[in-house]
Symmetry: C3
């Protein structure tokens, strides 16, 4: 397993737990929790693969994706109560996952000959659509439509990564710097409650 797949699996793990927690709060059974965890972790990448015409979809090419989702579900089953007390840790993990999936989505789209503009959209789709589908399946209005700078943080991160690669910097540096940018954007957005502008309805 190379480094790229390893960090992608880290993102998968974080989002699988996020999905499993949401499903547990809705009192879904084991199968329901598995489906929601799967969709949250792999739904964004699946949508990207379908849009760019990658076939079969990415998670069918490496068993570790399924195994990672299953581990995330089992950990949520066993440690549900303790996970409730780790909100701050989770927030950080989630930001890391957001950054990882943005980069992974960008790289895969570029490797399929997709132009940079669309590849940036693919980055955002990879990082946020899993969570969006999770919310739809749980019959909630997707968080990303209202949440403090979230999809935008992924887009900013992916843009930085693209720029740094274009400048010819070493990829390890670009990767670490991008994740840092996403974390910083998320931390400040939440800390200072910064949101994007809304249309004045009233």
């Amino acid at each position: 397993m190379n480094a790229v797949v390893f960090v992608d699996l880290m993102g998968t793990f974080v989002f699988a737990i996020s999905g499993a927690l949401a499903a547990a709060n809705k009192r879904f059974d084991f199968m329901g929790v598995c489906i929601i965890a799967f969709v949250t972790a792999l739904g964004g990448g699946t949508l990207r693969d379908v849009l760019i015409g990658a076939k079969p979809v990415g998670w069918m090419e490496n068993k570790w994706y399924l195994i990672t989702v299953l581990i995330g579900v089992l950990i949520t089953f066993v440690f549900y109560k303790r996970l409730q007390h780790l909100r701050k840790t989770f927030f950080l993990f989630d930001a890391v996952g957001l950054g990882i999936f943005s980069i992974a989505g960008l790289e895969k789209a570029l490797s399929y000959g997709i132009e940079p503009t669309y590849a940036l959209l693919c980055a955002m789709i990879t990082a946020t659509m899993g969570g969006m589908i999770r919310d739809v399946l749980c019959n909630e209005i997707p968080l990303i439509f209202r949440k403090e700078i979230y999809a935008t943080a992924g887009l900013i991160g992916a843009s930085f990564y693209l720029l740094l690669n274009y400048l010819g910097l070493p990829i390890e540096f670009n990767f670490a710097f991008t994740i840092l940018v996403v974390i910083v954007v998320r931390v400040f957005a939440v800390k200072w409650n910064i949101g994007l502008p809304k249309i004045q309805v009233d």
Copy 2:
């Protein structure tokens, strides 16, 4: 029309009626009922085809799929009240449909060179995602996330079928035995109210 397509159409018919009934209960108009019946019956197979890269999707290759859905809708329109009294018959039909679609999904995935593990997932997707999309479109939380052993029954059936084929038994026997397994699992799950474990939330 060969035997495989015929049984697949039986599954399509059962699920189309199930979708049409759900849409009727939501007071959708004729077009709405058609769309929900179509999605319930053919949505799971469509998702599977998109994931494995089959193109175009299966229901575009044989007119009988559309015709069968339309017949299911018309029957629901004409016999709506009588269908309400056939709950037990329907339960059985639904279990048969679940088994048929699991096998059909498994076979199609394998025929596209998908590995057995993923083919089993494709079986489950074929059999259950149509109903899941139906529930999402009706603005309900999908039943399969909470229902007594349902998606799991499809997965158990598909696993049996895969095992029996591996053992080299005649395919007619495997088919019949798998459907029987799915029916038995469903009947016992509902009769004894057996569900999968849930996460202890409180």
Copy 3:
């Protein structure tokens, strides 16, 4: 930019504003409004492309699709209140968009070798599924399941267009006539409150 793309962009523009207005009414932020506008305008065509196996999806082949959606969003941001007073204009625009997307969906499906029956379904999918996904993401039951003759108007328009082309009439005439048919059907359906039959539930 040729004439076909230009009219397709007109449809995109109308549906992007329709999506942006729906998102604004739900108090989504700028990113949420962009996502809903994008999905409403391009979701139907994307689904069609995925079903017929066009890759990558259409909006990745011409930057003007994204730009048009963005212009629609910006106009909604700036002129939100004035747009509220243009309901009648919008109703007309929406009918034009419905007609344009039906024709565009039909043409693209036929150009991929899809049979006429399925191409008609692709026309309806192109014209209505974007709005359906918009409603699902906004956690509403899709309008098209209950609305006066809407998806049906698109289907009627596409059928006319197919017939006129078959008769060998000049394409500009067929296009204009089809749009007119869709507008007429919509106007009369709404004016006289004509709906499709529903199943008698009680």
